[in-house]
């Protein structure tokens, strides 16, 4: 067998390979300089991500390329999602630099785990095979479990990490089980092969649907959809805010890629089945996420429930690709691009919202209760205005990006004939508006309880301001990002 070995084309996987090599460098640098020059690991991680971004741009090919015997795909969608991932991770690094330093968490392990988690996401984004997908997912998840527990002296972190690990392992198991079922029925692990087999219609339907249920459950867990959402509030709440920000941003992009690759590129033949499953979960997520968020007093927990509802809206777009049992490429692209756009918009808003928490935190103090936002307008009108933009954007009020994300998704859903579902979704976003309004109320209408000056460094201040302006600016001119999302999808398999 060894004689038949053909060296795979490494070119499409160049960013991944580069990041992997750089991770060794970070490891070594941290080993020798970690004790004295802590900033080096952080710097090197940022440089690695920038380098990976550069390589991704340079190696970008308008045509999809398969490599590693069809296990790995490099298309425009992958390039776009990867670039967004680097971007989100970089933002997280800048936001959290001071937070980590204040708490002594800026150790080499942190950056290493961040790199590996990013690598895992990149592999998920480029997966064209069940095994590659699983590999990427596990690499990401295991790194994230470690990150949640990075503050080993905190019982809350450890507890969150345990919950995340146990539930995450279960979800991975479900996913793997489902994949094995589909493999049994179709005889292929490759997404293209599975799609081919489904198209020919020779496979055993019962086994397929059985497998599909498990795969959808695995995806739903990663996206945090009801009823697989239990881990989200606890992990968001328990993890150090920097890690929460990380979990709440880039992995959503990877989870979107996973959902799209598995369900659309692989299992499109079963779309009538998964459409219903996603529909139920989307509506439940929107309902439960928005209702439960009202009861929260901790902003991290509130944002966790808000994340659940946002992923519900995203999935609403994803499942709207099929109209009355038929898939028309134009409508389908519209629907998937609305979901992609929603994910990108959400990541930007989520980074900003957690950025505000980091901005108000200082050494020895976590500004994670809603109370901490009281009277922010008196302490700093500018940051209050930025947070106001973030909150109204999440609530889906124009002129901010969050409105256009909801708009695109609703348009896709109504086009697919789900008018009632769209009405339910907007009614719950009305309920959701309440808790975003409450944050604005605390910032503007109430007197401050905490009058300490904001001590965040210049980098966090500038980044948070840019983040807020981006949410507003991309709302005034939403077309470009929408077009990029659509083009990326059109130029993929």
């Amino acid at each position: 067998m060894l004689n038949n070995f053909v060296m795979p084309d490494l070119y499409p996987a160049a960013p991944e390979i580069f990041l992997l090599l750089m991770s060794f460098l970070v490891l070594f640098v941290d080993l020798f300089f970690g004790a004295t020059h802590r900033w080096m690991a952080a710097m090197l991680t940022a440089v690695s991500l920038l380098g990976a971004a550069l390589i991704t741009l340079v190696t970008s090919d308008p045509q999809p390329v398969l490599t590693f015997s069809g296990m790995f795909i490099d298309d425009m969608l992958a390039d776009f999602l990867k670039l967004m991932t680097y971007f989100a991770v970089l933002m997280m690094l800048v936001y959290s630099r001071q937070y980590l330093a204040d708490r002594g968490l800026d150790k080499g392990e942190f950056y290493l785990l961040v790199i590996y988690a990013t690598l895992g996401m990149m592999i998920m984004i480029s997966a064209a095979n069940f095994l590659t997908m699983y590999l990427g997912l596990e690499l990401m998840s295991l790194s994230l479990y470690g990150l949640v527990a990075i503050d080993r002296n905190s019982t809350r972190c450890t507890e969150a990490a345990m919950k995340y690990f146990v539930l995450g392992a279960l979800a991975s198991g479900l996913l793997l089980y489902g994949m094995s079922m589909v493999y049994g029925a179709t005889g292929s692990l490759e997404l293209g092969g599975v799609a081919q087999a489904l198209y020919q219609g020779q496979s055993e339907k019962t086994v397929l649907v059985f497998g599909l249920v498990f795969i959808v459950a695995g995806i739903a867990f990663k996206l945090g959809l009801v009823p697989f959402h239990m881990w989200i509030p606890d992990v968001y709440h328990g993890a150090p805010t920097a890690v929460t920000m990380f979990i709440g941003s880039a992995p959503k992009l990877a989870a979107f890629a996973m959902a799209l690759r598995l369900l659309v590129y692989g299992l499109l033949g079963l779309a009538t089945d998964w459409q219903k499953m996603l529909l139920v979960m989307a509506v439940l997520s929107i309902a439960l996420g928005n209702l439960a968020a009202i009861a929260q007093t901790n902003i991290k927990r509130m944002l966790a429930y808000s994340a659940i509802s946002h992923m519900g809206y995203m999935v609403l777009g994803l499942m709207s690709g099929m109209v009355a049992g038929k898939i028309d490429p134009f409508t389908a692209t519209n629907a998937y691009s609305s979901a992609l756009y929603y994910t990108v918009a959400y990541v930007l808003m989520s980074l900003g919202a957690f950025g505000a928490v980091l901005l108000l935190s200082r050494a020895g103090y976590e500004a994670e209760n809603l109370e901490d936002f009281k009277g922010l307008n008196k302490r700093s009108p500018w940051f209050a205005a930025m947070m106001l933009i973030m909150m109204f954007s999440m609530a889906g009020i124009p002129f901010f990006i969050g409105f256009f994300a909801k708009f695109a998704v609703l348009l896709a859903a109504i086009k697919a004939g789900y008018v009632i579902v769209a009405v339910i979704a907007v009614m719950f976003s009305l309920i959701g508006a309440f808790y975003y309004l409450r944050v604005v109320k605390l910032m503007y209408f109430d007197a401050p309880v905490d009058s300490a000056p904001i001590t965040a460094g210049l980098d966090v201040r500038v980044l948070f301001s840019l983040n807020g302006l981006a949410v507003a600016g991309l709302g005034l001119f939403p077309n470009e990002v929408m077009m990029i999302c659509t083009t990326a999808l059109l130029r993929s398999v």
Binding site: L411, V423, F445
Partner: protein, 491 residues
């Protein structure tokens, strides 16, 4: 320049708010004069809209057309006809009044206060001139944000409740409208152009559903009975400027929505639902009139009086004749002046005594004769006295209603009695009689600034009452066109 007048009317106040915010609340004089300059400039740029307007053309004028979101064929499409143009002027004018009214009274965060009103003014100009569904919606909903802040930050003791109630109530309506807009987009094969929608053929069932979706949205905004309950709360808690903008402009948005969306896009449903709408309007006119009678809080009284007057407006629209529709539009503009003036008058008294209760006053005429004269004049206008603007609109609507059905007109005419009753009774208790208490005895008469804005409004009210032709002239062709359009079935 003529081509970008509407853009200028929208963006000048919004961009002008940036230096006002930036000036910060510590430099009060700079902030006030800057805000006044922006507001006056904002008003001046709208004047060419009137002088350059051709009243013979029924269609849109000052049209601006540019792609905004080509991905969904959303256009930056602006234009005004005789129906919407007067409201832009009214809005820009009222903004100047609001800036003047907040000159001394607002002590906390004045920069944000002025800035919020300027932003609000620009957004509302956007609502009146948008001819693209999404653009309209975006302005419509974005205007909630400044008003939410205005009520919540500078409002009375129960401001948080009032602000959130205001926001959620209005959002409830507009979200359903969003679904309807998207449905129309898909039905018209990818167009958000409102004028295209006017020509769109729609079946009866979808027409009724769309009508209901729009109805919820606009009825909350008007507000019509029974979804009016947010208004008294919002008015009572809002600062004077907030009440003025709410009553003078924000309420008109809902009524404007009926003329721009409901009537021309779904005319058959509008006819089908007309009786229902007329019933709701009459309930607002009569029942809310009685409710206003028993109020003890002046702002609440004027708020209920606004609801009652707006009932007149919706009544005028749904009797589908020239007199009714034009009368309703005149009534909207007149109410813009009169309610603004009434709220400003209450504001003037509140600034001195810090009470809005009728019982806390009495004999104001003895200490504030100039003010009392103006207040009584506005009260007369509010109750529809001939020679004031309040009379013109009401009279036209009543005539229109009698044309449609005598008893309809009869019921509508009770407003003249009720309106006079609650307004004049309030005047009697507040302005006349012996001096009520030592607070009233210490009241200072109007400052020249206060006199300026009240006198300007009084001038408008009087001019419109004596010679309404300049207002009706510009509307005539557009209303005619609208009614012709509504008379044709789309089925």
């Amino acid at each position: 320049m003529n081509q970008q007048l509407l853009s200028l009317a929208i963006w000048l106040p919004i961009l002008g708010a940036v230096p006002v915010f930036w000036a910060g609340s510590d430099r009060r004089d700079l902030v006030r004069w800057l805000a006044l300059a922006v507001a006056v400039a904002g008003f001046l740029v709208t004047i060419p809209l009137y002088t350059g307007f051709d009243p013979k053309i029924a269609g849109m004028q000052f049209v601006e057309h540019a792609p905004w979101i080509p991905r969904f064929n959303v256009q930056y499409f602006l234009g005004v006809d005789g129906i919407s143009m007067p409201f832009i002027l009214l809005n820009a004018f009222i903004t100047v009044m609001v800036v003047l009214a907040g000159w001394d009274v607002i002590e906390e965060k004045q920069a944000q206060y002025m800035g919020a009103f300027l932003v609000m003014s620009g957004l509302m100009n956007g609502i009146f001139s948008a001819l693209d569904g999404v653009l309209f919606y975006v302005f419509f909903e974005a205007s909630l944000i400044p008003m939410y802040i205005i009520i919540g930050v500078w409002g009375g003791p129960n401001r948080v409740y009032a602000a959130i109630k205001f926001f959620l109530y209005t959002l409830l309506g507009s979200l359903l409208m969003l679904v309807a807009l998207i449905w129309l987009f898909l039905e018209s094969r990818g167009s958000f152009n409102i004028l295209d929608w006017h020509q769109l053929q729609i079946g009866m069932k979808p027409q009724i559903l769309i009508f209901i979706a729009f109805l919820v949205s606009f009825a909350v905004k008007v507000p019509m009975w029974p979804v009016h309950t947010w208004l008294p709360d919002a008015h009572v808690e809002a600062p004077t400027g907030g009440s003025v903008v709410l009553a003078a402009i924000a309420l008109k948005l809902g009524a404007y929505g009926f003329v721009r969306f409901s009537l021309p896009i779904v005319p058959d449903a509008a006819h089908y639902m007309a009786n229902f709408m007329i019933t709701l309007s009459l309930i607002a006119v009569v029942y809310i009139g009685f409710v206003a009678l028993v109020q003890t809080d002046m702002k609440k009284l004027i708020a209920y009086s606004s609801i009652s007057h707006m009932g007149f407006v919706t009544l005028g629209f749904f009797i589908f004749n020239q007199l009714g529709v034009e009368g309703a539009l005149v009534q909207m503009i007149s109410h813009g002046f009169v309610s603004a003036a009434m709220f400003l008058c209450v504001g003037v008294m509140y600034d001195r005594v810090h009470s809005r209760q009728i019982a806390d006053y009495g004999g104001v005429v003895h200490t504030m004769p100039k003010f009392a004269a103006l207040f009584v004049f506005f009260a007369m206008a509010n109750s529809g006295l001939p020679a004031t603007s309040g009379f013109v609109g009401e009279f036209m609507v009543i005539l229109g209603a009698i044309k449609a059905n005598f008893w309809l007109g009869f019921l509508a005419a009770t407003t003249l009695i009720l309106g006079a009753a609650y307004t004049l009774w309030m005047i009697k208790r507040v302005v006349y009689g012996p001096v009520g208490n030592h607070h009233v005895a210490e009241m200072q008469d109007l400052s020249s600034r206060e006199f300026l804005f009240l006198a300007l409004l009084a001038l408008c009210v009087l001019a419109m009452g004596l010679y309404p032709f300049p207002f009706t002239e510009v509307m005539h062709a557009s209303v005619d066109n609208l009614l012709k359009h509504v008379a044709v079935s789309k089925l």
